[in-house]
Symmetry: C2
Subunit: 350 residues, 2 copies
DNA sequence: CATTTCCATGTAAATGTTTACATTTTTTTA
DNA sequence: TAAAAAAATGTAAACATTTACATGGAAATG
């Protein structure tokens, strides 16, 4: 691979001049500029951005850690981050934590070794060594899908409490009283915890007793929704509606309900969280709480880059709006409950 | 940020020794090793992997370009690439081409400037300047979701022809004769082209006349499937079955069919391609051609890294197996066709 | 015409590691 | 115990750029 030196030799100028035609061509005379351009072609010169980063002490790289790249909601956020970052000349090194704190920690380490200028993390543990170390070093950092609204770390997220509240309220307005929740594990996901708080508060506001048996903590995948709903429907007093911590769980729950013969939405109303693109394409269409995933990523990148530029800035916290999207997976409580229950216990349905 | 030099000074050794305790600790005496370790702690030393890459001329980074990160099938492949790459100490810089050749070209450029040691690309244009340049420079390169089985570029993919053939054959065996295809645009996607060839060949083998009116080229997203199927169902002689170039289109087609009142699967059988995780969770479950997406990514990374290690190696081509996964979105031709048609033209259905 | 200003270019140091080679110290061998 | 071998450490150059500063010549100014 040829270097700036080769180009300089061929064009009979100094390396400084070559560097100048690359970085500020207007400052070098047209003739030399031309000569250098030709020399570059002649030796198939390839610019080395790493070497530049090495001397300018800027890698123009940022790190991005999400729990699961296979979840389209995070994929959208990744797009948001990349779109903004690319426009500013930055690239992103992407990592999956798989909702595991150890992987998150390891990723932080290798990304920092690679001199990322900042990190965007959807963290699995808000009070862990990872974030503390980053903070101690005043390392530019933005939390995504965050629940924090103040404190030293910049963060962008949505109002999960309110999202949980709206979801539950929607179900209550439809006449439901026995409302279950399929929640992500609170220990990995403070988001899920906040949604649960919203759910509980809404029940209380409507004088519906909270029944812990109706709340199941599991993981965020399709199969967890499927198994979770089966467990709930097998209860002595099964729910007539369920609020799921994300759309995967909700879609899993739909399938699980179908498998035990519960008709949707008559036999069970389901609300999800996220509003992934596919939510309006499944049958019945999924009622869900919309999160502006792309926008969250974009904004996260914007905040991070501003933070990188002026490292003394105050932390920024942004809470984006969610909204309930009502589709066909939720319906009023019409069917006679006892009947459904008795048929459920018999284990066969139509 | 403190450097190896600071550590050396504190531990009263040379920088070479510090480097040695980092890279081959066994070669330095336990006492010095200890002293150096302490010094590192003392000045909060952070290893700079970029500086190392600079001197060793290895970035331990590879570039990965996919058409759409929001498609879970590609997300799975990304995971496959990352899992293998990380194990070998590599990181991946990820880029989205959005199925646009210009973006693909631009990404190649910036990734090469960043000294990625190799590229894994799901290309949108097999015979373009991008790949030619890469090839001319003997740049380590692996094509993913590739249709090529020979030639100078390493590639891993599936047998798209056969996939298209199986999908069509399945529909024919169910009794369908009017089988449409919702295809990705052949100009961006040679995969789609090959699937179409499989589809045509299968029709011919079963003496079913090929009707170009039943083949629609569109993009790969949900809404394209939805609109596409509506166009097809509005034909004078609508299809009774449709083979879609990916699962998004198929799921979109389901929704589109529902919207014009066609019952699934009785009124229309649908076959997808990919077998994304959600395919077995929707209703009806999607019959589709399975692609080993994760494995493809993993294998691509493996081939690329082997290529990086010995750059003289012969190109490697791997064709992975697909298989049809039969679910509920396809059914035998039972309903009387004319009846459905007449009701279709009236525009209202149950 | 002498001085100042400006423009274009060159010089050389700096960035944080690794590593071939050299040197010193310790251990083994005869 | 001297010589040889092995182990531990040091020296310094190299990697591809950028950039502060220097330099020389041309244009502008008095």
């Amino acid at each position: 691979m040829s270097t700036i030196r080769d180009v300089a030799r061929i064009a009979a100028v100094s390396t400084a001049t070559v560097s100048r035609v690359i970085n500020s061509p207007e400052v070098v005379s047209p003739e030399t500029r031309n000569r250098v351009a030709k020399a570059m072609k002649a030796c198939r010169y390839q610019y080395n951005a790493l070497a530049r980063g090495f001397v300018t002490q800027q890698s123009y790289t940022l790190g991005l850690i999400v729990p699961s790249i296979t979840n389209p909601i995070f994929a959208e956020s990744i797009r948001g981050v990349q779109d903004f970052a690319h426009r500013e000349g930055y690239q992103a090194l992407l990592g999956n934590s798989d909702y595991e704190y150890a992987k998150e920690a390891r990723l932080c380490e290798v990304l920092r070794e690679r001199q990322v200028e900042g990190l965007i993390i959807t963290t699995t543990k808000l009070r862990g060594k990872v974030l503390r170390d980053l903070l101690d070093d005043h390392f530019p950092l933005v939390l995504l899908y965050s629940t924090v609204r103040k404190g030293p770390i910049s963060a962008v997220g949505v109002d999960n409490f309110r999202g949980g509240y709206s979801a539950t309220e929607h179900l209550i307005h439809l006449g439901h009283r026995r409302i279950a929740m399929l929640a992500g594990r609170f220990s990995f996901s403070d988001k899920s915890l906040h949604r649960w708080h919203g759910y509980k508060k809404c029940l209380r506001d409507h004088r519906i007793p909270y029944d812990p048996a109706l709340v199941l903590q599991t993981q965020y995948a399709l199969e967890n929704g499927r198994e979770g709903i089966k467990a709930l429907l097998a209860l002595e007093q099964p729910p007539t509606a369920v609020f799921c911590s994300n759309d995967f769980m909700a879609i899993g729950a739909m399938q699980g309900a179908r498998e035990v013969g519960v008709a949707l939405p008559e036999g069970l109303s389901i609300v999800g969280f996220d509003d992934m693109a596919i939510a309006s394409y499944i049958n019945p269409g999924l009622t869900t709480i919309r999160q502006p995933a792309y926008e969250m990523g974009r904004l996260g990148a914007e905040i991070l880059l501003s933070q990188i530029k002026r490292r003394d800035g105050r932390p920024i916290h942004k809470i984006l709006e969610t909204g309930i999207v009502v589709r066909e997976s939720t319906a009023g409580l019409t069917v006679c409950e006892p009947k459904r229950n008795s048929s459920l216990t018999s284990g066969k349905h139509v």
